[in-house]
Symmetry: C2
Subunit: 343 residues, 2 copies
DNA sequence: CTCCTCTACGAAAGCGCTTACGTAAGCGTT
DNA sequence: AACGCTTACGTAAGCGCTTTCGTAGAGGAG
């Protein structure tokens, strides 16, 4: 911490304006009980001295912080950076600061990060990103979150269930269904799903939606291969290589996020496969670049920034008696990466 | 802040392990002067009670924080989110937490954010993103930063001069020159530069480099139009529309960041102009998607994550007697969006 | 056995704020 | 004129830690 012996303290402001430290505190924090004239005098003195309150002292004394914590998987990933953007903007409006940490989708790191946020006594914790299907992996996180919540902390999550706290939940399953219906509607039958690890609930939910559509169309979901890889661009490339080797007659690829879809497009191009001429590709999320790709990526739009903002709003509200859930509709956006099935 | 009356305090740990609060403190923070057996007993008790130290109290008492502040223009922008990613990763290794704020390139918001970081008594402040050419705009920021630094705070900036603090400076000018030389080498002569607002030093530097190359090639830089727009994808689209209207015979577009270049590609495609057949396009930064675009974007690579990490490293070091500068080489990456000039 | 030096620990003084409580002054009532 | 109520402010007790200083006891040197 900056050695503050050189920076003015509240008592300096109080002396300078000829009032007690209590009055100075009240004047600066806007607590009633100070006459306007005195308050103005104090503020004036503070300005002249360049006084900035020590938030640590303030938090310690008052028992409340303006800081909120945000946990994401990877801030470099546009999905999360857009969520973060929504959170930061709204937080700034509320005069709150945001502490961000990323976990690389490592459940242990995740718990540790939450613990560190608790130690920082943040006023609220926001957790973005998929949970894990395996409940035993999720358990320590749940425990930590519950303890924090019981101690009076506010928690909200986006895109994650099972944590027993307020949540903003994108329509992953309906979204998966919508995009699969779109693909099926174009006449595709030789389809593969390009998927992140099935341990993530987000992946599982989206895949569930895809299966809904397949079965509604009278297909057997087991006939549609699910290629699993890292939930990243490189993962998409890798899956396409496997697809070209093992399922060469495929006419449509349903990728379960845009990152993978972008990797798919990239690898298909390098492999000389035309999109959507020979193979159609769809994504999920609608990250900002999706519309600027060539071909423009057909995907499912999720309003990431808004989701972040809504999570913050939930966390800032008084806690309800039970966990609130906000559904966020997923909207199919058809662009140029999908077209009629080649025959 | 979470009401901590319900969560254990140091004194609870001390009681539970039958030692004084001082010893407990020492045992938990690893300060020497405690026997191993006692230390272990204390740690054990802490674990059982689920004790997490109150960092506010700790900061207040010790006068130091583990928190570092990061100021970026817009966290949703891949350039900044990749920098942030580098910072977060390295910070986690050092057991430090990061508070991020974004400013929307608004100089006033920037100053305010820095002030709020100072109030939070962060141990170091990192500022990423272009400064402003206009010194009077930059002055309040300079003032705030200096005051913080004089009070013992550590500051490091990335991609920004003029602040009189440690800095990590990408080779914007040489990079601009390199990419322009590449374009010229392909035989292009009817070139336009697609540029963000010239008030940003980053833009000015890159443009300077482009001009260096033009003049080295014996051209008059004034013959190369500079189309100015927002430093975003939409800005790129807008500039291309103007280019098509005002400079229809252009064969090459030098965009001064990837975001704008992506917008250029997008608009050229919608307008039915082939890249690189009719018009070549280059970017700057090499954000992650650049290689996955179609055509792959020729650009200048800046190692963003590394730049973030290096800035943090500088800030964590003992301050030097004078501001340190680290240059980061910019490397031309030739992909498919540039080709020989059409005749 | 005494003296001195370490080591391991405890007591207590803050760190810079907020806030409960106390009090003096001003004002309206009866 | 005496009383109560309100307003505006000061006093001082913490918030939960770290750290300086003091001290008791163990051990070695003489």
């Amino acid at each position: 911490m900056v050695r503050t012996n050189s920076s003015p303290r509240l008592i300096d402001v109080a002396h300078a304006s000829g009032v007690s430290i209590a009055t100075a505190s009240r004047a600066l924090s806007g607590t009633p009980g100070v006459s306007d004239s005195v308050a103005e005098k104090v503020r004036q003195a503070a300005r002249e001295l360049g006084y900035v309150a020590n938030l640590h002292a303030r938090s310690l004394a008052s028992g409340s912080t303006a800081t909120i914590g945000l946990v994401v998987h990877e801030i470099g990933d546009p999905y999360f950076s857009e969520i973060a953007s929504g959170v930061l903007s709204l937080a700034a409006e509320h005069g709150r600061t945001v502490q961000i940490c990323h976990t690389g989708r490592d459940p242990e790191a995740e718990v540790e990060q939450v613990r560190s946020l608790v130690a920082n006594r943040v006023g609220a914790i926001l957790i973005a990103g998929s949970g894990f299907v395996d409940a035993s992996v999720e358990a320590p996180m749940r425990f930590e979150v519950q303890r924090y919540a019981e101690a009076g902390g506010r928690v909200a999550v986006v895109g994650r269930h099972h944590l027993g706290v307020d949540s903003v939940l994108p329509d992953n399953r309906p979204g998966g269904r919508a995009v699969a219906e779109h693909i099926l509607g174009l006449g595709h039958r030789r389809i593969v799903v390009v998927s992140g690890t099935l341990e993530l609930t987000t992946v599982a939910d989206r895949l569930e939606g895809v299966r809904d559509a397949l079965e509604a169309a009278g297909l057997d979901a087991r006939d549609v291969p699910v290629l699993e890889g890292p939930f990243t661009r490189e993962g998409g490339r890798e899956c396409i290589r496997r697809m070209l080797a093992d399922h060469p007659r495929t006419t449509a690829v349903i990728a379960l996020n845009d990152d993978m879809a972008i990797g798919c497009l990239s690898q298909l191009r390098s492999s000389g496969v035309s999109v959507p001429g020979q193979v159609s590709v769809s994504g999920f999320d609608d990250v900002a670049v999706a519309q600027d790709l060539s071909p423009g990526l057909t995907t499912v739009r999720l309003p990431m920034a808004e989701m972040g903002a809504r999570a913050l709003t939930l966390a800032l509200k008084e806690p309800g008696s039970r966990a609130r859930r906000q559904r966020v509709p997923a909207e199919l956006v058809v662009r140029d990466s999908t077209g009629p099935a080649a025959r």
